[in-house]
């Protein structure tokens, strides 16, 4: 297990290096002169020259890449062109808002989705199963930004149960502000996870070892909860790990709808102002999150499934 962990994180590091390189080259491949875009048409040649030197744009591309890697190793993602603040500071100031929103979305949608899916699988083809199926599919079909807007109109504007914008102060204030955004992000996940758990649960319930458990008079409740569910949630763990990418992209919309600070808001703002160091830093951190979450999902899978543990 230890060797597997080390290997898995080495792989994650490798993926990150490849991703950073690709991203760096892609941004440099965009036609046009970044300096004139950043400084505008009326910049003096001296100003341009100093920025070119500061960003090392006069160096060959491989040298620029090495300089960027060098900065990365020191924890330096460059300087915000406009405010002059360090990109690392900016990104890590915004990151917690996005992380808490995504974490809450995943937790509530996974809990509800797994419960719904397991119940449907334990009572297949009943009314509840059919209703759950219909509801799940409509949840999956609803994009996060549509749900966000509707939730905003209904629960914040009409009913005034929850605040419409901002992030709030203190634990309860922040939690209160998180309800609607994480509802919007999590809703389609509830449906998706419920469908997934139902399918994988039905498959597991048809396996020989479940018949054994029944043949020994073990209660159906125990069979579902500790014999079948543990196997049935394995694919869910993987899907949530990989789904981190989708969560981050739905965070972009949700943060704009609810006017919340966060990674999504940051990346949109910096793209519209051509603030390349910040774009680069934000995308890098998002990629890092994605790579980390898939690695964690793989490790969790290995932890839950002894077969995977011993073969890896």
């Amino acid at each position: 297990m230890f060797i597997y962990t080390v290997k898995r994180f080495a792989l994650a590091g490798l993926i990150l290096i490849v991703a950073v390189t690709a991203m760096f080259l892609m941004i440099r491949a965009v036609p046009g002169d970044p300096v004139s875009i950043m400084l505008g048409p009326r910049a003096t040649p001296e100003l341009k020259a100093s920025l070119i030197e500061q960003m090392a744009l006069d160096q060959p591309i491989w040298k620029q890449l090495l300089i960027y890697y060098g900065g990365l190793l020191r924890g330096d993602l460059g300087i915000d062109v406009f405010s002059g603040r360090s990109v690392v500071d900016i990104v890590f100031q915004q990151l917690p808002y996005t992380l808490e929103m995504i974490a809450l979305s995943v937790v509530w949608s996974a809990a509800l989705g797994i419960a719904l899916g397991a119940y449907a699988a334990a009572h297949p083809n009943t009314i509840i199963d059919r209703v759950a199926a219909a509801v799940s599919v409509s949840f999956v079909a609803a994009p996060a930004f549509v749900v966000a807007l509707l939730a905003l109109l209904i629960f914040a504007v009409q009913l005034q149960w929850f605040p419409a914008i901002g992030v709030g102060e203190g634990f309860w204030g922040r939690l209160n502000h998180l309800v609607l955004p994480s509802f919007a992000i999590g809703l389609s996940w509830v449906g998706y996870i419920a469908r997934l758990v139902r399918a994988s649960m039905l498959e597991v319930l048809g396996e020989g070892h479940i018949r054994t458990a029944r043949a020994f008079g073990i209660s159906e409740r125990r069979i579902i909860m500790s014999y079948a569910l543990r196997i049935a949630i394995l694919p869910v763990v993987t899907v949530i790990g990989v789904g981190m990418g989708f969560l981050l992209s739905s965070a972009v919309f949700t943060e704009i709808v609810f006017a919340r600070p966060g990674i999504g808001k940051l990346v949109i703002d910096s793209i519209t102002t051509r603030n390349y160091p910040v774009v680069m830093g934000t995308v890098l951190v998002s990629t890092g999150l994605f790579v980390l979450s898939t690695a964690i999902a793989d490790l969790l899978n290995a932890l839950l499934d002894p077969r995977a543990r011993s073969t890896k």
Binding site: G208, R214, I218, Y227
Partner: protein
Amino acid sequence: MSDTLLEIDNLSVDYETERGDLKALRDISFDVKKGEIVGIVGESGCGKSTLISSILRLTAPNTRFRQGEVRFNGDDILAMTERQMRDLRGSDISIVFQDPMQTHNPVLTIGRQLLDIQHRSKATTAQKLETAAKMLAAVGIPDPQARLKQYPHEFSGGMRQRIAIAMALMSEPDLLIADEPTTALDATLEVQIIERLKELQSEMNCAILFISHHLGVIAELCDRVVVMYAGAVVESGDVREIFHDPKHPYTRRLIECDPGHIKTRARILPTIPGEVPDLVNLPDGCIFRDRCEQAFDKCQQVPALDKLKEGHFAACWLNHPEETTA
């Protein structure tokens, strides 16, 4: 109190399918006495699996019990509540399944699973684990204490089947159902496991319903044999009677086709020509008629399972000389 443990009386079971009712079991009757080993022989699809899942009432949702009773210690299993049924499973009746690679939960340790099946016991966890280790030792698993901490995939197929037998015998059941327990294993393991099963049976004196298509194993292990064909019992009786004086053409062909019985070198192994009839659209008359070389006019009627002598029953018109000459 009679000495009969399990009585199956005119049991008929259908599966509802889109093509119509599949008549998986028709008019099955036989019994198992206390401490007796009864073998059930028949080709794949003859209804052996339906029969054992009916006894444990672990049948598929499209199963319909059309008629008959399954009595265990005098009580009709088919009339029991699910609660009563659960009390029976794994305590008075237990089962060893065919494929040892599928029997155990892959994500729980063997110890956990052996612990869970003792859910009726009032003993402490430590005592239960002690019992589990003792049972593993009894079926011939070395170092049982350490192996309790391992997962199923860390055991070989033979080991897993031993564990399955240990699980089944843990509650000292009155009836052990063994569903082709050695089919998935190689021949040397088969002998070892059969030997061990026989030893444990004589220690615990439980009855065994042993399903197999391996005639050699049946002859070695069983007291009595029930021969099934296409969902019906065609012959039943004492194991010696059946093997030395079979009274049904199907039994005779089955014995002839057993590789263990072939004395002379042959280029082609003997088979029974023809196919098992479609159980949705049953043919008229004797179910074996289409494949029987000795079929005659009378076979257009269904023969009853007649008592030929004490402890030997067969369903064939050939055993009625007055009909053959008529």
